[in-house]
């Protein structure tokens, strides 16, 4: 028996314990979904580097551990989470510890009538119609083993529902905290964000850990932006540098909807992200931007797919990578323009800066175009800090380290500067400054 099968058996046997712990909850319709998913999970294999989609990301280190599916939220105090908060925007804060909602640490203030922001577990128990309509409808658990694993263990996660026409001004900060001080934990937040017609919401998914320990976050987020909805999304991944992070985000977009996402990745030993958006109707817009800042032996992998299934949609994708030491980066961005999707406007770009001799990036921007009246561009660059710029700055009296910091800020700026949430923008600027100003 190889490692992959062994670890699969481990998660299958843990599932039985999980099922027993559900008690009455296993009578709910959602349990059918779990059972279907665990069935799929048992049939699928963990990916290896022979598969095109995983060619540069070897997850075998992840399969060395018997991660224990988290069963409780532990005991975390508000003092312990304060350092992860952004002062100006904590009107709406949802805290999840090891994937489970912590009501005590969370606070929800002044949300418009009808808005739900809280635990998906509660929504499931209340047999919410939104859950029935959307949960498990976007993230494929038939072919994707990690999504199957997440779906099988569906228990808790963030649920945000914004009814038609409601505007939420303040960002909702969703903090996923892992406390794996006692054992190697598997945390699987399962999130669903639904924005009704003409609604607007900003959601920050923020992954952090209490200490630099080994654990596994397997997160799945499904987002539906109904007609004319505006959804701003930020994923700030600051996991422990020994952690494994597998994150999937699937977005369904209605007519004239506008979805924007910024994925800022700093943590994780291995992190793999799959972000897929589909234009189901005309006139929509999707922005997928990202910045990854890695060092040591970190590996960051992002795979994106923007599916232009309908005409008159715009997509914009810009990923920037800053890699130091022996880190590895993978960008695989695919824009699909289907035959129907005339008047598509798609822009895709990936730029990387390598600060050491041993870092490496594999980048693959892809365009597949089946329509004939479209405007699409894509490109990728990998380089070092520009030496002429360095000399220019030094010749003005600016020292080596400051010059490096200035140029790295400048490199990241066209992604960072467009982040609409000021607190996050400043936070990232600060991280960039600290990282390169020793």
């Amino acid at each position: 028996m190889n490692q992959s099968t062994e670890i699969k058996d481990w998660y299958l046997s843990e599932f039985k314990k999980f099922e027993n712990s559900l008690n009455g909850e296993s009578k709910l319709p959602i349990h059918q979904l779990r059972k279907e998913a665990i069935d799929n999970f048992s049939k699928l294999d963990f990916p290896n580097t022979k598969e095109e989609e995983w060619k540069y990301t070897n997850i075998s280190p992840l399969l060395k551990y018997n991660f224990k599916p988290a069963s409780g939220k532990g005991n975390v105090s508000s003092n312990q989470i304060s350092k992860f908060l952004f002062d100006e925007m904590e009107k709406s804060l949802l805290v999840f510890v090891n994937g489970q909602f912590d009501e005590k640490l969370s606070k929800i203030k002044n949300l418009p009538d009808g808005v739900v922001a809280g635990s998906i577990s509660n929504a499931i128990k209340e047999k919410s119609l939104v859950i029935e309509k959307h949960l498990g409808k976007y993230a494929d658990y038939k072919d994707q083993i990690f999504t199957a694993l997440s779906t099988a263990y569906t228990k808790d996660g963030a649920f945000i529902f914004v009814p038609d026409g409601k505007i939420i001004d303040d960002p909702i900060h969703v903090l996923f905290l892992t406390d794996s001080s006692e054992e190697n934990i598997l945390s699987q937040p399962r999130n669903l964000f639904v924005a009704g017609k003409n609604s607007q919401v900003t959601i920050i998914e923020h992954f952090v850990s209490l200490d630099e320990s080994i654990y596994f976050t397997n997160s799945v987020t499904e987002i539906f932006a109904d007609d004319n909805a505006v959804v701003n999304h930020i994923k700030l991944q600051e996991e422990s540098k020994k952690a494994f992070h597998i994150g999937r985000m699937e977005i369904g977009q209605g007519r004239g909807s506008n979805f924007t996402s910024y994925a800022i990745s700093l943590g994780g030993d291995i992190s793999r992200n799959d972000f897929n958006s589909k234009f189901n109707e005309e006139g929509s817009e999707c922005t997928l931007n990202g910045l990854f800042l890695i060092d040591g032996t970190q590996l960051f992998d992002v795979h994106t797919l923007i599916d232009h299934a309908k005409p008159h949609c715009n997509s914009h994708e810009h990923y920037k990578g800053i890699l130091d030491d022996k880190s590895r980066g993978v960008f695989n961005g695919k824009v699909m323009v289907r035959q129907d999707a005339q008047k598509t406007n798609a822009f895709q770009e990936n730029n990387n800066i390598i600060l050491s001799d041993n870092a490496l990036v594999n980048t693959k921007p892809q365009l597949e175009i089946f329509a004939d009246d479209v405007k699409c561009s894509h490109g990728a660059t990998i380089g070092q800090l520009d030496e002429d710029s360095m000399f220019y700055l030094k010749s003005r009296g600016i020292g080596e380290e400051t010059a490096r910091t200035i140029l790295i800020h400048a490199f990241a700026s066209d992604v960072v500067q467009t982040i609409k949430v000021e607190a996050i923008k400043n936070y990232i600027e600060e991280i960039l400054t600290k990282r390169f100003n020793n």
Partner: protein
């Protein structure tokens, strides 16, 4: 003496470009270095500023009594050296203001002065901008990005005006400038001139020297200074052309 260059030899990629330069510059003086293309003028300017690609094989440079060649480029700048680039670099994402504020404060820190606060800095740069008639909107823009040729050169002189160097080296600052821009640039340089500072004007043509009048003119040819004289030397060169220097310099090996 502000600057003394003694028998300076420099290579790039194994090729010798400077073949023994001697030059003395005192405070209050303006020196022009002229010469045909490829004579080593820009190399000399860049070697003085500390560009790492050049290998110094012989000679020494004393700046304010210090061994210049031992100083890092940023320390040379902080000591009071300034190079106005022949081709100013575009740096997207770094604003002109940010560059200047950082540069000025790093220099002040180095020489043991208090850093300027935002208000003091702003009032200083507004004054200095007027010297070169630059539009204030350029301050917020990225360094040299999308600037016209003339704006880039004026921006160099503007930076010089803010940093107030003891020795300004203008590397072909006149190239590509129309006569109006040339006057503005020259005017800026002249206003910055004092008894305490000096300027080295590197140029191919005599034109700029009508506006920035040099005390000394040196002709660089094949990596050596082959002729030195007063400002009339520039006129003579203009008149006779560089072939005159070439014919007249049998001592320089080909």
């Amino acid at each position: 003496m502000l600057l003394e260059i003694k028998n300076l030899h420099a290579n790039i990629e194994g090729k010798e470009i400077l073949k023994g330069i001697d030059l003395k510059v005192n405070a209050g003086e303006v020196h022009a270095i002229m010469g045909p293309n490829g004579s080593g003028k820009s190399t000399l300017a860049q070697v003085l500023a500390g560009k790492e690609e050049y290998e110094i094989t012989q000679g020494e440079v004393i700046f304010k009594g210090k061994n210049l060649l031992e100083l890092k480029p940023e320390d040379r700048a902080r000591e009071g050296m300034f190079l106005a680039f022949q081709y100013p670099v575009e740096i997207p994402g770094v604003s002109n203001t940010n560059l200047l504020k950082t540069a000025l404060n790093e220099k002040r820190k180095y020489i043991g002065e208090e850093e300027l606060d935002a208000m003091e800095f702003l009032s200083l740069i507004k004054k200095r901008m007027k010297l070169v008639e630059l539009d204030e909107s350029l301050l917020r823009r990225s360094v040299n990005e999308g600037f016209s040729g003339g704006e880039k050169k004026r921006n160099e002189i503007f930076q010089m005006a803010v940093l107030e160097p003891l020795l300004g080296i203008l590397d072909e600052t006149d190239s590509g400038l129309d006569i109006d821009a040339l006057r503005i640039v020259a005017n800026g340089v002249n206003k910055l001139k004092s008894k305490d500072n000096a300027t080295i004007v590197v140029t191919h043509y005599q034109r700029l020297l009508n506006y920035i009048v040099p005390d000394f003119v040196h002709v660089l040819y094949k990596g050596k200074i082959v002729k030195s004289g007063g400002k009339e030397l520039a006129l003579e060169l203009e008149d006779k052309g560089y072939d005159w220097v070439k014919e007249d310099s049998p001592l320089v090996e080909n």
